[in-house]
């Protein structure tokens, strides 16, 4: 029913050097893969192992590293700032990822139509894709300005006294989440639009004849039919928000006020590059990787694994 391929990996072909040939073309393989593998090894594999290794040491770049075993990991539990940053990361995921998925879906359904000028409107919807995280963070600082920004100006038209967004411990994280949703929904919307093309229009017509309203069609026909994409959009948004929110947070609040936007990635950065506690920062980074890997495993990989073996 659904033509959208998710993370499925099709088996590789055997066009060249099929088994009947005596020797495998190892020379060519080295030329094709060698340079990539060398760089990948130095700057990805070695750093992964390095991060794990570093997490067992105490090191400030100056004095020689001291082996401390698992102490760095135990220290996480006793560090209120670490606990806070894990909690803040979870909070951002909740109020960032879930709305991204829902907004992507609803807007895809909404603009899945044609009228004169739709191309221009779609381009506007897609524009947040191209602005960088840093540029948008600078821009949104002014958008959120309590006095001179457009949001509170518009709220004032309705006699609402808008909050001091980025200076408020309550509103700073929702403000960051709004920016990430704005930055991230266009990709999800594109994915949903592709999936909607494959929903059989006869289903919708039949529902209409039976007198189904918009909600019934959304909830019982469209939503179930694009479920594989929902899973995909969730993963993509999760990865995006976990990885890229650093830029936004760093420029907009730098973790403040009073740690209310101090997400894990920002705290790791501060530990490593301001406080020079490389070992402890690596332990937190390793913890972050475990969280990401667990979530990725939970959500996706059976398909990936099956495909790779294929």
């Amino acid at each position: 029913m659904n033509s959208v391929r998710t993370l499925q990996v099709t088996p590789a072909g055997n066009a060249i050097g099929a088994p009947r040939r005596a020797s495998s073309p190892w020379g060519w393989i080295a030329i094709f893969i060698g340079p990539n593998l060398a760089l990948f090894g130095i700057f990805t594999i070695v750093p992964i192992l390095g991060a794990i290794g570093l997490s067992f040491f105490e090191w400030d770049l100056m004095s020689p590293p001291v082996f401390v075993g698992l102490d760095n990991y135990f220290a996480i539990a006793g560090d209120p700032k670490a606990i806070n940053s894990i909690y803040r990361t979870a909070y951002l995921i909740l109020i960032g990822v879930v709305p991204t998925v829902i907004v992507s879906f609803l807007l895809a359904v909404l603009i899945n139509t044609t009228f004169p000028g739709i191309r221009v409107v779609r381009t506007v919807y897609l524009m947040p894709l191209v602005i960088s995280f840093v540029a948008s963070a600078v821009l949104w600082r002014y958008i959120y300005d309590p006095r001179f920004g457009p949001i509170n100006t518009i709220l004032a038209w309705f006699r609402i006294d808008g909050p001091a967004w980025l200076q408020s411990t309550t509103w700073s994280m929702p403000a960051i989440a709004i920016v990430t949703v704005w930055l991230r929904f266009p990709l999800g919307m594109l994915l949903y639009l592709a999936a909607l093309q494959s929903v059989n229009p006869a289903l919708l017509e039949a529902a209409e004849i039976d007198g189904a309203g918009t909600w019934i069609k959304l909830r019982h026909i469209l939503w179930p039919n694009v479920r594989p994409v929902t899973f995909l959009v969730t993963i993509v948004s999760l990865r995006g928000i976990l990885f890229d929110s650093f830029d936004v947070v760093r420029v907009m609040t730098d973790g403040g006020p009073i740690g209310s936007t101090d997400i894990l990635i920002r705290y790791i950065f501060e530990l490593a590059f301001s406080q020079l506690r490389l070992g402890y920062a690596s332990a937190l980074a390793a913890a972050l990787f475990v969280i990401v890997a667990a979530m990725a495993m939970l959500l996706s990989p059976p398909r990936v694994m099956r495909g790779v073996r294929g």
Binding site: G13, V46, L191
Partner: protein, 275 residues
């Protein structure tokens, strides 16, 4: 024939336009603020259209960003894209079409590391670059980013898996070796995939922040996102109209590429994620 209720149709179009206005509001604000005078930008309540256009903001903002950081960003984006492309295209091809023992394990390795956040690699990568004495050098800035090849390997392997084996077999019968097959048949057939991949990679590289922040301190190697973020940390010195103009100028090149090449961006992003 499907009959659409005219009222519901109008409602839908109205909603599309309204949400479009909400999504586009930050861009509109960016545009008008960047052309305001320093006096108007401090006026309360804020104006929704500049009373007077201050074109002098353009050269002023360019001076703040510095020509060096603009050139650096262009060089950075182009070199990352070209180098990475020259690594991932052959690897993707080999992983899809040349059988060898350990091939699946290798592909597996690329996929698993796709889920490792770059922030995890940040500290060890910084130490490696420091030991190579590559801090504040072009190789130190570019190579660790070029090495993030897992996504590209994945994209091109998927693309080549769908390529018919007969095509390559026929060329081999004609006496072509693997290198000739790759350069004369495979690469020319890959144009759509390459176009999509290039557009996505240029975008990512143009916007990259955290690694340039760690790998460079030298003003001569500063890229645009770093220059931009510096504008707000010294906000008291730079008026909002100028920092908005700086944001606009640093985003315009990408928008200028994006609008005509929208199709490639879309297929690159959707295709890459979907495959």
């Amino acid at each position: 024939m499907k009959v659409v209720h005219p009222f519901r149709r109008a409602l839908q179009i109205g909603l599309i336009l309204f949400i479009g206005a909400v999504v586009g509001l930050p861009f509109y604000w960016l545009l008008i603020t960047s052309l305001k005078t320093p006096v108007e930008v401090a006026a309360y309540p804020p104006t929704w259209f500049p009373g007077e256009f201050r074109w002098q903001n353009i050269p002023d903002a360019l001076a703040l960003l510095s020509t060096t950081s603009i050139i650096n960003s262009v060089v950075f984006a182009i070199s990352v894209t070209i180098l990475q492309l020259s690594l991932v295209v052959p690897t993707g091809f080999a992983l899809a079409k040349i059988p060898f023992p350990g091939r699946d394990a290798l592909f597996w390795m690329f996929i698993v590391t796709f889920f490792v956040p770059f922030q995890v690699l940040l500290i060890p990568t910084f130490l490696i670059i420091r030991d190579l004495q590559w801090i504040d050098t072009w190789p130190g800035l570019v190579l660790p980013i070029v090495a993030q090849t897992s996504f590209g390997v994945f994209v091109f392997r998927q693309f080549y898996v769908d390529l018919p084996d007969e095509l390559l077999e026929a060329a081999r019968m004609d006496g072509a070796n693997l290198g000739q097959i790759f350069l004369r048949i495979v690469v020319p057939l890959s144009r759509p995939a390459i176009a999509a991949y290039v557009s996505v990679t240029v975008l990512t590289a143009w916007n990259m922040f955290i690694w340039p922040l760690v790998a460079t301190t030298d003003l001569d190697l500063r890229v645009l996102p770093i220059a931009l973020s510096a504008l707000v940390t010294q906000r008291s010195l730079v008026t909002p109209n100028l920092s908005m103009m700086a944001v606009l100028l640093s985003t315009l090149p990408i928008i200028a590429i994006f609008i005509p090449l929208q199709r490639y961006f879309v297929s690159g992003l959707v295709g890459a994620v979907k495959e």
